[in-house]
Amino acid sequence: MLDICNLHASVDGKPILRGLDLHVGTGEVHAIMGPNGSGKSTLAQVLAGRDSFTVEDGSVSWDGVDLLAMPTEERARAGLFLAFQYPVEIPGVSNAYFLKAAVNAVRRHRGEPEYDAMDFLKRVKAEMKAVGMSEEFLYRSVNEGFSGGEKKRNEVLQMALLEPRLAILDETDSGLDIDALRTVADGVNRLRSPERSMIVITHYQRLLDYIVPDQVHVLSRGRIARSGGRELAQELEARGYGWIEDLQGAQAARGAAS
């Protein structure tokens, strides 16, 4: 369903993604790992449509549609969800208001009736219970003063409410203690379904003990350096990222020589 072909992207003229290829089938969960600076978050942001990144080359086809041609909010309405690595605070706007506006924007797009306040509250309260958030968070400003774990739970809550077709989780595990990690992973696992694809970006293998991926990819210097099954993640855990980079460096040297 998602086909990324030879994707090149830069920020402020500095190339970050350099010819990335990735295919994610419907209902599959793919993990993307890689050292800092390898382009993991850039990939997430480019797919979501952040305009501070420039796509220099390549294509992204999503169920046959040119994803890169769609405006950010259209991608979201069509079912692309990004769980942010650093969820943004919006002072003065209540979480309940924000969530309802988002859910209704997506429902309108799907031709479904918008939720009224009562229906929405019923739905959101049930979902909050599932991710272990107390109702008080509905009435606080979006992410303002939330702890790291609370922010991440709020992301998973939004994902549950918006029912995306493609969910990208950008280091959702970072900054979480083991209990929070487990709750977040449970929330994500509940949302696994044959209709929903997921890209789970993580720096550590730890998260993949809880969210078991169909495939693991290692990103290095803006390209997929290696793909494999779950065992690849375990190998990385044991050997670090160094050997992948060495491998890629050697490849690059060979490429230059030939």
């Binding site: 305009d51 950010t72 979201a76 309405r77 919006i90 003065g92 208001y97 506006a101 924007a105 400003s141």
Partner: protein, 482 residues
């Protein structure tokens, strides 16, 4: 980085829907200001001698004064001889006795602005005084109000029908020589609204004035006087618009509020004067003196303003807390976009015992807009137990706007408790991206953030006005997302 501000800029391009001109024949004085012009204004209005003398005294004071230069605004000096000081729509012989005699073109103008003057067309029973250029053209619901002993009429009419009240209160809150613009207003004011609520009466409907500047080169100098007698309560609303013109036009109004013992006055403004185009050409100079006097014990005066229009706003609705246990409040949202400049805030003067005041100011700057909060909280030596709480928050949209805060606190009594809080925040590209990733458009995201920012002020507005204000803010911000 240019990229992040793109959606903000697109959003800040605004249309000004009230910018049309009504074609009407006007009865106007030639440009320029002199004692002779003042005599002619007074004569046209058939005023008594004491009022003419009062005007002339103000004029002589004004000649000795200079415009204030301390405000954080800049504009070319105004040529006061190049302004028309009196312009009125021409009437068929006599003044209209009822709405039926008002020029239909005028009625249409107000209808177009969303202010229908036909009483049966009014929804929630809001009485309206419509001021067009220099004169009041219609006042609605006078009869019903009269049954409660309430006087709600144009200022000119009040001078004729209730001279004793006008004479007793005029200039007692804002004296003739209070400041440069107030002195000018005192000399040349042409009309405005007059309200008197008798003892113990709770005004049964919202009262409102709708100001419209139409004629070219004309200044509007209205004067409003509201008196709430002992135990009376009134809520008053004011709205303003003007056509789009390339020249700047001057609006120098004076509003005086008097609250006697136990009286309660709530004064709300939605100011949407033409702000000029996006390069700063044209627009209204809104130089206004508004002051309330809590003259009696336990009296209460509350100002709420939503300022989205005008090229330049210079305005500090203030309260003199003279009565013991009196309360003064100021709630403000001021928005500047493109090249607009606003220097606004409030002055709370604590004189009586156990007086309380609140200042809550929300400034929004977008485009090249400049927004200044200027506040003065003064606790005089006899003001035992005074309390003030001030909060002023600034919100910046884009990279080229400015926000300034100048709070002054003078405390002369040790029992005073004065608190001041201030914050500055920016609508960031990251906030917009976050909201857009959830399916909202940039426009919706900005209005959501701005509404959230203004929430505490909007809840002070009467219901109908709150909706209007929210819409207005949306329009005024169009093109602000960059």
């Amino acid at each position: 980085m240019n990229a992040p501000t793109k959606p903000i800029e697109a959003f800040l391009e605004r249309e000004y829907p009230a910018g049309f001109v009504t074609a009407l024949e006007a009865d106007a004085l030639p440009k320029g200001l002199s004692e002779d012009v003042i005599r002619r204004i007074s004569e046209k209005k058939g005023e008594p001698d004491w009022l003419l003398d009062w005007r002339l005294e103000a004029y002589r004071r004004w000649l000795t004064m200079t415009p204030p230069s301390w405000a954080q605004v800049s504009f070319a000096p105004i040529d006061y001889q190049d302004i028309v000081y009196y312009s009125a729509p021409k009437r068929k012989a006599d003044a209209p006795k009822s709405l039926d005699e008002v020029d239909p073109e005028l009625l249409r103008t107000y209808e177009k602005l969303g202010v229908p003057l036909h009483e049966r067309a009014r929804l929630a029973g809001v009485a309206v005084d419509a001021v067009f250029d220099s004169v009041s053209v219609a006042t609605t619901f006078k009869k019903q109000l009269g049954e409660h002993g309430i006087i709600f009429c144009s200022f000119s009419e009040a001078v004729k029908e209730h001279p004793e009240l006008v004479r007793q209160y005029l200039g007692t809150v804002v004296p003739q020589g209070d400041n440069f613009y107030a002195a000018l207003n005192s000399a040349v004011f042409s009309d405005g609204s007059f309200v008197y609520i008798p003892k113990g009466v709770r005004c049964p409907m919202e009262l409102s004035t709708y100001f419209r500047i139409n004629a070219r080169d004309t200044g509007q100098f209205e004067r409003t006087l509201i008196i709430a007698d002992e135990g009376a309560t009134v809520s008053y609303l004011e709205g303003c618009t003007a056509p789009m013109r390339d020249e700047n036009q001057l609006h120098a109004a004076v509003v005086e509020l008097v609250a006697l013992e136990g009286a309660h006055i709530k004064y709300s403004t939605v100011q949407n004067w033409y702000p000029g185009d996006k390069d700063g050409k044209g627009g209204i100079y809104n130089f206004v003196t508004k002051r309330g006097d809590c003259r009696g014990a336990r009296s209460h005066i509350s100002w709420t303003q939503v300022e989205t229009g005008s090229a330049i706003t210079w305005k500090y609705p203030s309260v003199l807390l003279r009565g013991d246990d009196s309360v003064g409040e100021f709630y403000s949202v001021a928005l500047t976009n493109h090249r607009q400049q606003a220097d606004t805030g409030s002055k709370m003067t604590h004189i009586g015992r156990n007086t309380k005041s609140t200042i809550l100011s929300k400034g929004i700057s977008a485009g090249h807009g400049s927004n200044t909060f200027r506040g003065l909280v003064r606790v005089t030596p006899k003001a035992v137990g005074a309390r003030n709480y001030t909060q002023c928050d600034s919100l910046l949209i884009g990279e080229r706007c400015a926000a300034h805060t100048f709070p002054t606190i003078e405390v002369r009594h040790p029992s005073a408790r004065v608190e001041h809080e201030a914050t500055t925040s920016r609508i960031g590209e990251d906030q917009l991206f976050y909201a857009m990733q959830r399916g909202l458009t940039a426009e919706d995201a900005v209005s959501m953030i701005v509404s959230g920012f203004c929430k505490e002020v909007f809840k002070e507005l009467p219901m109908e006005f709150a909706v209007e204000a929210q819409k207005l803010l949306g329009v005024s911000l169009e093109g602000s997302v960059g």
